[in-house]
């Protein structure tokens, strides 16, 4: 294919049988290709060397508190939505040594942590996950202080997005937030998987020149209008079949005005304060810093690790924590996601991926909580 025909926005057809060539092209450029894979009956993000590493022929049914893997009738590569893990674990490692310290006379010497930046290619990044990266960009790159680990990893990462084609998006609500199911921006290449009869192919859209350069080597051709249309229909079907929805009209005002709504007590009675929701959420960024000394007391280190606002210690001040009640911690989490985040970063902290619903051991569903508050908000505050 001529170089000039491969521009941003061009859509190509890649046969499923040629998919390995995409993996090889990424690997030959030094990328560690990470994507969905099955391990011990779980769907995780791991190393993808060959097509068979993908969960080919598997699907996942998700509901509040449940994630069930099942075989599919076809050989789809990406026939599921998202699993427990998100890409944030690669862009912002949940454990990191910031520096080491060594005693030196009356003082000490600080040795800054330095780590090689892995060159990742993320394969099968859903629209909601692209949106989550854009949210974390706001947090880690747009404030007065930039997080260098995140920045370096983010800049290097090659992103192969996936326009969602999952027929059973049970816990998803990206469509209601405008974050999916179609990947709008922020990718090098975007795939749509099309299966019809014996035909199995991908429509690949070029998102960047880096993407165009890579795809030039592949055995693909320009997609026909009919193929492009078939891909669009796959995504449209998902959008029309979302399991959930979230009405975000004046949501910040709703939360600010309902700080003492009785629903908080009600949800607190169910919530275990386990913090799972914060761990699986692709935008949650809160972390802590911890110090340790070796046994001899001459050397130590300072680490940072992912933290959760559900722990009592999170808001600890000398004399006691600020958020002592479980209710206040659930309220902090949800209010942050959906309301205060808007004031802090100019966007919502929720992208509608549904993880916090699936991985909540008691199946608490934030869309349901918002609905409950919305429905009774007026009745509660008749002013």
């Amino acid at each position: 294919m001529t170089a000039s025909s491969l521009k941003v926005g061009v859509q190509l057809r890649l046969a499923a049988g040629d998919f390995q060539a995409l993996l090889d092209a990424l690997a030959s450029r030094g990328y560690r290709v990470m994507g969905p894979t099955l391990e011990d009956g779980q769907m995780i993000y791991g190393e993808i060397g060959k097509v068979a590493d993908l969960p080919v022929g598997w699907t996942a049914f998700q509901e509040g508190g449940s994630f069930r893997l099942e075989p599919r009738p076809d050989q789809a590569f990406f026939g599921f939505a998202v699993g427990q893990q998100s890409w944030k674990q690669f862009l912002w490692p949940p454990h990191q040594t910031l520096y080491q310290v060594q005693r030196q006379g009356a003082g000490f010497h600080v040795i800054p942590g330095a780590e090689a930046v892995p060159k990742f290619a993320f394969l099968g990044v859903r629209a909601c996950e692209l949106a989550a990266m854009a949210v974390q960009d706001q947090v880690f790159l747009q404030g007065p202080h930039v997080d260098p680990t995140y920045k370096a990893r983010r800049e290097q990462a090659f992103i192969v997005a996936l326009n969602c084609g999952h027929q059973d998006p049970g816990v998803c609500f990206c469509a209601s937030l405008g974050t999916g199911p179609r990947a709008a921006a922020g990718y090098d290449l975007a795939l749509t998987e099309v299966l019809r009869g014996q035909e199995h192919f991908f429509v690949v859209e070029i998102g960047t020149m880096r993407g165009a350069d890579l795809i030039r080597e592949l055995p693909e051709r320009i997609a026909t209008p009919e193929e492009v249309d078939a891909a669009a229909r796959v995504v449209a079907a998902v959008a029309g079949n979302m399991g959930r929805g979230l009405d975000t009209t004046d949501i910040k005002e709703l939360f600010y005005a309902n700080y003492e709504h009785p629903r908080w007590d009600e949800v607190a009675a169910r919530c275990l304060n386990c913090g799972n929701c914060t761990m699986v959420c692709p935008t949650c960024f809160c972390h802590t810093l911890e110090d340790s000394l070796n046994l001899t007391g001459v050397a130590g280190e300072r680490q940072r690790r992912l933290d959760s606002c559900f722990s009592v210690d999170f808001s600890y001040l000398h004399g006691g924590s600020i958020r002592t009640s479980p209710k206040s911690r659930y309220r902090q989490w949800l209010t942050h996601k959906l309301a205060t985040w808007i004031d802090q970063f100019g966007c919502s902290g929720c992208v509608g991926c549904g993880r916090c619903i699936t991985w909540c051991p008691v199946g608490i569903d934030l869309t349901e909580e918002v609905r409950a508050i919305r429905e009774t908000a007026a009745g509660v505050r008749k002013e």
Partner: protein
């Protein structure tokens, strides 16, 4: 390719030059930089993250004189692990410093006003740099009234300096304690009770308040009853802080990150959150 650590996350070593015991559990440390440029510029009301070797790192206000940037001064109360390690440091020992961070008192924007400095307990530490600044630029301001409350006479910070300030004709000092023995000649009672004694013209006054939550709450109410508007009142908030630079999320208070858009807030901007509990 390797990722370099953000400089604001790396502590700079400072050497302890002097340790002064203020009260039974509170110490003032004079520090100077171990190497590199000697000046540490800051604005009154800002804080540093102080790192005690192996023990941890905590937010501590700068309590020294902004016009003497060669010496970094902190006043620390021993309340736990890290503050204890800091209070036990001896002359010549080293402490890690990150900062200065946070939004300062608006001392350079209140020329012409009467200024009320209202401190409870350790709250005098972050207000002392503001007072130094006001006194150095004395001509620019109206009345300056220091209103300070502590638990007992023994808990008063900077007692010698308080005496010197009392002796000045261009500053009025009002001190009160919650309880005292008979030989105490000054006020007994909470800070809000002695606000009456201060001289100020409500329409052209600003109040800078730092102290425990309850004290600030009642002080704000008292000032409003004297006719001050929320725009004339500034408070310094306290939250758990780990990073100090707006990344770790610990200091969140509703829509705010106290480390980066605080700790000092103009009251009208935060009044919707100030009285909410467990935020």
């Amino acid at each position: 390719m390797t990722a370099k650590l953000p400089d604001p996350m790396l502590p700079t070593p400072f050497v302890v030059q002097k340790v002064k015991r203020e009260t039974s559990d509170t110490y003032t440390l004079d520090l100077s930089r171990a190497d590199g440029p000697t000046n540490f510029a800051f604005a009154p009301g800002q804080f540093n993250m102080l790192y005690a070797f192996g023990a941890g790192e905590v937010p501590i206000s700068i309590s020294g004189d902004p016009a003497v940037p060669k010496t970094l001064v902190h006043t620390v109360r021993d309340v736990g692990n890290v503050t204890r390690a800091i209070c036990r440091l001896k002359r010549g020992e080293v402490l890690g410093v990150r900062g200065p961070f946070g939004v300062p008192w608006p001392v350079d924007r209140v020329a012409g006003e009467d200024v009320l400095i209202i401190a409870g307990g350790l709250g005098l530490a972050p207000l002392r740099p503001a007072l130094y600044h006001l006194l150095q630029h004395r001509g620019e301001f109206g009345n300056i009234e220091l209103i300070y409350g502590a638990r007992t006479p023994k808990d008063l910070l900077y007692p010698k300096e308080l005496e010197r300030w009392r002796g000045r004709f261009d500053l009025r000092v009002h001190v009160t304690v919650d309880s005292a023995a008979d030989d105490w000649r000054s006020n007994v009672g909470v800070v809000t009770k002695i606000i009456d004694r201060a001289r100020f013209d409500p329409p052209s006054t600003v109040a800078l308040i730092c102290g425990p939550g309850v004290m600030m709450r009642f002080t704000v109410l008292e000032l409003m009853s004297h006719g001050l508007t929320p725009e004339q009142i500034y408070v310094s908030m306290e939250r758990n802080m780990k990073c100090g630079i707006g990344l770790c999320g610990h200091c969140q208070w509703g829509p705010y990150f106290v480390c980066k858009d605080g700790p000092v807030y103009r009251f009208d901007r935060i009044k919707d959150w100030f009285d909410r509990r467990e935020v």
